[in-house]
């Protein structure tokens, strides 16, 4: 699995990611015909990272927020039966929300709150994955391994020299549908 954020080489030592690696959200599934289906979900992942600077006045900044991810996947099941292996592919979108930064310096330890704009608030990518679907009672459960290749970074470390969201993302997901 992959951490959501990557750091620039120069500042790697001063960056402390404390991002939650879990993601959760509602999902909607449409069965189109026997083997095809469509899946929409809105996955939320909170993030937090702390940077510290030692050049000039020692300072630190803690940034918190959330990443909303919206995959829209076309799913194809290989077999009809109690256990149905499937593959899924489609576009995915990610938006950064509720970004709050808290700055402190050694001289003035009172935190200064701000809401910085990310390099890009929304990015798009392509997701592909595969898994199994089976039923337990009325529940349909689908464990899935999903890879997403993002076209850009929400936070671009080449511009900020600090931190960026990763372009390659692997996720282990479980969908429970009613």
């Amino acid at each position: 699995m992959t951490e959501s954020f990557d750091t620039g080489f120069i500042y790697r030592g001063t960056f402390v990611p404390t991002t939650s690696r879990y993601t959760v959200g509602p999902a909607l599934e449409l069965r189109l015909n026997g083997r095809f289906g469509a899946e929409f979900s809105a996955l939320y992942q909170p993030f937090s990272f702390q940077e510290s600077g030692i050049i000039g006045v020692p300072s630190s900044r803690k940034t918190t927020g959330g990443l909303w991810q919206f995959p829209v996947l076309l799913r194809y099941s290989f077999f009809e039966g109690p256990i149905r292996p499937f593959v899924a592919v489609g576009p995915s979108f990610q938006a950064a929300a509720n970004i709050t930064a808290s700055d402190m310096t050694v001289v003035d330890p009172t935190p200064v709150i701000s809401h910085p704009e990310p390099t890009r608030r929304a990015i798009a990518g392509v997701a592909a994955g595969g898994g199994l679907q089976f039923s337990i009672g009325r529940l349909r459960i689908s464990p899935e391994l999903r890879y997403t290749r993002w076209g850009a970074e929400n936070f671009d470390f080449t511009q900020t020299n600090h931190v960026g969201t990763k372009l390659n993302q692997f996720q282990v997901l479980v969908a429970v549908m009613f």
């Binding site: 993601t23 999902a27 009613f178």
Partner: protein, 96 residues
């Protein structure tokens, strides 16, 4: 030929003017024999071609043709029945 066969039916579905319950047919079932399809579409075309041309103009617009191309792509991919048979809601969770 395929456009000629399928396009009028598709446009009628879009317009909501079809008189009969029409199910699109794909390679996974409900595919009639060619003779059946030809007779069916000939009848459909004769009855409704005037409505289709009046809706889209004398020449089919780029929008109509674009919609038809999307439909044909879906049809060739095996998605002959374009309506959802079942909609499920739930939750998804995981780690990254």
């Amino acid at each position: 030929m395929l456009v000629r066969l399928v396009l009028p039916q598709f446009l009628l579905i879009l317009q909501g003017r079809q008189r009969w319950k029409i199910r699109f047919f794909g390679p996974y079932g409900n595919m009639p024999r060619r003779t059946d399809l030809r007779a069916f579409v000939t009848r459909m075309s004769a009855n409704y071609l005037s409505q289709f041309t009046s809706a889209c103009g004398k020449r089919p617009s780029a929008r109509c043709l674009g919609s038809a191309m999307v439909f044909l792509a879906c049809l060739s991919a095996g998605m002959g029945e374009l309506y959802a048979q079942r909609i499920s809601i739930g939750a998804e969770a995981g780690v990254s």
